[in-house]
Amino acid sequence: MDRFVVSRSHSEAYQPDRRHPLWLSIVLICCSLAAPAQQITQRGNSSASLSTQAIHLLGFANAKNNSTGTLSVQYDSLQFQQNGKPGAIVKIALVRDVFLGAESKQVGGLPMTLGKTAAPFGGGRVVSLFAHKKYDTLTLEYVDADEGIHGAIFQLTEGQGELVRNELIARGVIVGSRQDQSTKESAAEATHENK
């Protein structure tokens, strides 16, 4: 008698537990889908920061050309920080203009290029046909303490450039009249690249 009662209550107590793995797996799948987006862009509260992975092509303060790092908008400044190195900072108030562009580039860098060159029977060319990726280019115009004009170019993952640009605009950067023209030109260039 006692055994029956225990058995019944036992089964009732464990019935909801059978659903737990299902819920857990759903939550895990959702988390794994959201993780890459978290890695690319991390956005804190409104006054804190927006940060994204970027390649500094040239011109930003004392940052090294063609270096990979994190581009972040923090409070009143724009910062580019390479891994484990002190960041290069430009005050947002000194940024005069922001331009957005798009470009298609071959992936893999020099090792891939050498590999493609060494591939027999023109195999490398076939790889080149598919091994390209679209990027956003973010061009900044800013002034230094002596009012000398500087320019900086960053390469970002497609779609990220607009986020940074919008963040800068939200923090008071006035976009010049050349913006529309520049975007149009960049789009035309990207179209040309895809032909």
């Binding site: 011109g59 562009g101 580039k105 493609k116 060319r125 390209h132 002034v143 170019i153 520049s182």
Partner: protein, 192 residues
Amino acid sequence: MKTNKCNLSIACLISLVAIILALPGQLPGQTGTAKSSGGNGTPATRWSVQVDQVDAGNLDLAYSFQIAIYENLVVELKTTKQFQQVFREGDRKASEAPNLLVLKTTVEKYIPGSETKRAVTTVSGATKLTVRSQLLTREGNVVLERTVNGEVRLFGSNLRATHNLAHNIAKTIKQSSWSGSGQPTAILTGQL
């Protein structure tokens, strides 16, 4: 006796090493003196240059290219050491510089290329830039005028054309008969 011979050989070796080490240090010093004295013994006037932003004219040139040419020009001109100081457009210190030239760059021709086309075909997809570079005095007199090309034909991104162009402009200025010293008199025009 043997010890004396050993000591002598060690002393010889040390003196030989000392001579070898001392020679390379002495030679650059000599060349430095020769450079600074100049040809006729009079100190040459050293000019500074102010790099103006690139004028794209009516061409459909992306702003990133204009900025890249401008930034690369500043870097390349500094590398040549032809000028005492290299200023950027808008720099307040430029107005205080005694001998200032202004470098104006106008884009005349731009052929957009494609990195993928270059990688696939090798022969097509080159990005080409042609600019007119002018060195002017404060009064607006043209000291040097050249048409310079920059392109990327095989490896590298499209922006590499701007680096090649800036390098060519700096090289042209360095190699021109106007040497960056003395009074600019003749107007030099040509194409590289």
